[in-house]
């Protein structure tokens, strides 16, 4: 029976690979694959072929090379510290497995697997085996990916293979422990152990172990330095002493064994660590198989939720199980008559968090202004406030550049409703404008708050910034606030244009676990967005700069900044107007059924 299940898994995997290779015939996948492949090669695979240290061809004196190798390799006496960190991390993970779950044990089967396997004459134990083997295959893929990252941590020692197998053992142990814990918890629940009592018991037990180990620490061992600065060697020494003191050392023993292959400094150490690790995994396997309880009901429920979530995600929707389960008050009353664009704003605001209201924004502004003024009046306030202001400015730039990727309450979310929108008696530009309003409002609100933070906190502290007078800061802040909505709208036009002009590409970028081609495709989109934005912003900034240059001798810098802001606004607004009409025309001619045809 297991062979049939393995056949299913192997055949599915083979077909998946064949389908992925076949679709490379389409340019959108081929181009994405080339870019993604190049990314993987230059950032990961190339480093696999070269030993840690300077790149091949870089001529370095022997002394310098030795010094570099010494610098990138952790000293041998750091191994206990890394082991302590690793085992504590695993303890935290497994503690969650015992504390968090509230549902009955559910092995993760897909809806198709349930439909075919559950009614089939297959023993429950075979299903468990099938699931465990599937999980091992997934762990192997995950280990391969993690190896690509960890291989760059050359200071850990080991090599690509020991890292890959090390990750695999860690993931396998966690996976098996999760299944075993789920089954055991279900049994305990059936015996009458309530969730809160179980949590107290588990956390209390772990806390007792820590306290006992702390009490048994040698008195002469200095306490970890806390507060002013961190003495890393002293802190590591203390942590190692704690984790090797009973009873904590007993509790951490299996975790230490599991992380040992990954932390092995060379192949010999890896093989020495291998035996105990395999023993721990075997014990885990026996535990899971012996403790397996009836999981079918919970598995069906889990598969249905997962299927619905996946379907909603693929069609651009939200997760159906935790979103839109409760009706929400409208953000503002929508009258029967008036600009139809506002109806889209109203609709799309309803689709997002309920916090985007004038009241919340107003309160946030008051809090920021109050906190900023208070901070500046503190003894060490000016420096701290300026730091906060600097961070706020950086965050503002982040909002402008990356915000449109997060605020997607526009055409991108409504592409699945394109048929419906196209039956509305509205010209395309009105639909596009209406769709753009919600994310523009949201991102503008965030930008205004960050700009307010910068204005109330930033003040020149040395650095020859005395020319940045309060009036100039205020004028610059107001100018940026004025420009913010059009700049955000312009930014939003780019991904919306991508969705309308390349719906096939856009849909593909929503593919889950897409592999190199989808990563490459996302990279293409990102670079295209940055490039387009630079081209769109250039005229506005040239005009703004020219206005400041020409006017600041005549009307002063502050007034010149205000005039420049207006000039920038006019240019950007013109670009937005042209962009909206252009996209509107595209929306009117959009034929999704043709564009998405394979």
């Amino acid at each position: 029976m297991l062979s049939a299940l393995l056949y299913l898994r192997a055949t599915s995997f083979r077909n998946w690979v064949v389908a992925r290779v076949r679709r490379l015939r389409q340019p959108k996948y081929l181009l994405g694959a080339i870019v993604g492949g190049a990314y993987f090669y230059f950032f990961f695979f190339r480093s696999l072929a070269t030993p840690p240290g300077p790149r091949a061809g870089t001529a370095l004196p022997d002394a310098a090379r030795e010094a570099m190798e010494a610098a990138v390799t952790l000293p041998a006496d750091w191994l206990p510290a890394t082991t302590a960190f690793g085992s504590l991390a695993l303890l935290i993970f497994t503690t969650f497995m015992w504390v968090v779950p509230t549902q009955r044990a559910a092995l993760g089967f897909s809806e198709a697997e349930i439909a075919f396997l559950f009614p089939a004459p297959v023993k429950r134990r075979s299903l468990v085996h099938f699931r465990l083997i599937s999980a091992q295959l997934r762990s192997l893929v995950g280990a391969g990916v993690m190896m690509l990252f960890s291989q760059r941590w050359s200071a850990l020692g080991g090599n690509a293979l020991t890292h890959a197998f090390g990750w695999w053992f860690i993931f396998s142990a966690l996976n098996l422990h999760f299944s075993g814990a789920s089954f055991t918890l279900t049994r305990l629940t059936d015996l009458g152990l309530q969730a809160w009592r179980r949590r107290i018991l588990v956390l209390g037990m772990i806390a007792s172990v820590f306290i006992a180990a702390l009490l048994r620490l040698p008195a002469e061992l200095p306490s970890p330095p806390l507060g002013t600065g961190i003495d890393l060697p002293a802190a590591s020494e203390w942590l190692v002493a704690l984790t090797t003191t009973a009873p904590l050392s007993w509790l951490l023993a299996p975790f230490r064994i599991v992380v040992a292959p990954f932390l092995a400094v060379d192949t010999r150490a890896f093989f020495i660590a291998l035996g105990p690790t395999l023993a721990v995994l075997t014990l885990h396997y026996l535990w899971v198989v012996k403790s397996a309880v009836a999981f079918e009901d919970a598995a069906v429920d889990y598969a249905q939720k997962r299927g619905a979530r996946l379907a909603a995600w693929r069609t651009g929707g939200r997760r159906p199980d935790d979103a839109f389960t409760k009706a929400r008050a409208a953000p503002f009353p929508l009258a029967d008559a008036g600009r139809p664009e506002l109806a889209f704003l109203w609709k799309n605001l309803l689709s997002t968090w309920p916090y985007f209201t004038v009241r919340v924004w107003g309160l946030a502004a008051l809090v920021i202004a109050g906190a900023g003024i208070w901070l500046r009046r503190q003894p060490e306030g000016p420096l701290l406030a300026s730091t906060v202001g600097g961070v706020a400015l950086i965050f503002s730039a982040y909002v402008v550049i990356v915000g449109p990727q997060f605020a997607r309450q526009d055409i991108r979310s409504d592409l699945t409703h394109a048929d419906l929108l196209k039956t509305y008696p509205l010209p395309g530009w009105q639909i596009v404008l209406g769709e753009l309003l919600a994310p523009t409002v949201i991102l503008t609100g965030v930008l205004w708050l960050t700009l307010l933070t910068a204005v109330v906190t930033l003040q020149p502290v040395g650095l020859g910034l005395s020319w940045l007078t309060p009036s100039l800061r205020l004028a610059a802040g107001l100018g940026l606030a004025c420009v913010a909505p059009v700049m955000v709208a312009l930014q939003l036009l780019v991904p919306n244009a991508a969705a309308l002009f390349f719906p096939g590409w856009f849909q593909m970028s929503r593919t889950r676990g897409g592999g190199p081609e989808v990563i490459g495709q996302r990279m293409i989109f990102f670079f295209a967005q940055v490039l387009t934005m630079l081209c769109a912003l250039l005229p506005a900034f040239l005009v703004g700069g020219a206005v400041i240059l020409m006017l600041h001798w005549i009307i002063g810098l502050t007034a010149a900044v205000v005039c420049a802001s207006l000039a920038v606004w006019v240019v950007l607004a013109g670009e937005v107007w042209a962009g909206v009409h252009w996209l509107g025309t595209r929306f009117e001619s959009l034929d999704l059924s043709a564009d998405l045809r394979p």
Binding site: A327, D336, K347, P425, S589
Partner: protein, 243 residues
């Protein structure tokens, strides 16, 4: 009300609809039938202005769809086989939104009887996620009827409805046609078409095989027999195959 002339729809090198011409007058119900892949949905979507035609022209309530799409769309409503609803708008909010888009004044006075007719008045504050498939369908129809369209397109209107819902939907279509609406519906359920439609148009591979009143089309394929069912007509007209 609906005038279609030489309508063609191509997807790349594939032609889904070929030079289709027909007209439907006020009060008529045209049944669009054909095997899978015959071009029924493409035709309906072209007529509703959802997808552009590749060539030919369409006039809805006197307005050319290509030249004056806004006026044409004000007069029509399209009901897809799968109700397309916004996950985060309640039943009432859906109607409010549609009212604003179509500029329907005092929409609540119109919406109330519609919700009652479709028996979803008590669900007014619920989200689509809380509604059954049939109720979602009813909400989609209520939204489509809110602005009083003169022309209606139904794509497989009975999908997902229970027997009572099917009965009511049929009555609703007939009632609206009697009130002067022009209706085009596509369905594989030939008994529905026999009950509801005044006219029928048979498509195969994007080409019109026959059109006319039910009696006219039946006569053409009856081969002298009397009382031939639409199902038999359909099989004879299409040769019993999809290709």
């Amino acid at each position: 009300m609906i005038e279609v002339s030489d309508l063609s729809k191509r997807y790349g090198s594939f032609t889904a609809v070929k030079q289709l011409s027909f007209a439907v007058r006020a009060g008529e119900v045209l049944g669009l039938v054909g095997p899978n892949g015959a071009g029924k949905t493409s035709t309906q979507r072209c007529l509703a202005g959802i997808i552009p035609v590749s060539s030919g022209s369409v006039r809805i309530a006197g307005h050319a769809l290509a030249e004056d799409p806004i006026a044409a769309k004000r007069a029509l409503a399209f009901f897809p086989d799968e109700p397309r609803l916004f996950d985060y708008l309640t039943v009432r909010q859906h109607l409010n939104f549609v009212a604003r888009i179509y500029g329907v004044r005092d929409h609540e006075a119109i919406a109330r009887p519609l919700l009652e007719e479709f028996e979803i008045a008590d669900k007014a504050d619920q989200l689509p996620g809380e509604l059954s498939r049939g109720m979602k369908q009813k909400l989609a129809i209520a939204c489509g009827l809110l602005h009083g369209p003169q022309v209606m397109f139904f794509d497989e209107p009975l999908t997902g409805l229970d027997p009572l819902g099917i009965r009511r939907m049929k009555d609703s279509i007939v009632q609206r046609a009697r009130a002067g609406a022009t209706i085009v519906l596509s369905s594989h359920l030939l008994h529905l078409l026999e009950e509801v439609c005044t006219h029928v148009l048979i498509l195969k591979q994007g080409v019109k095989i026959a059109d006319g009143t039910l009696a006219e089309v039946a006569a053409r394929f009856s081969q002298g027999e009397t009382d031939v069912s639409l199902e038999e007509v359909f099989i004879r007209a299409t040769g019993g195959t999809e290709s």
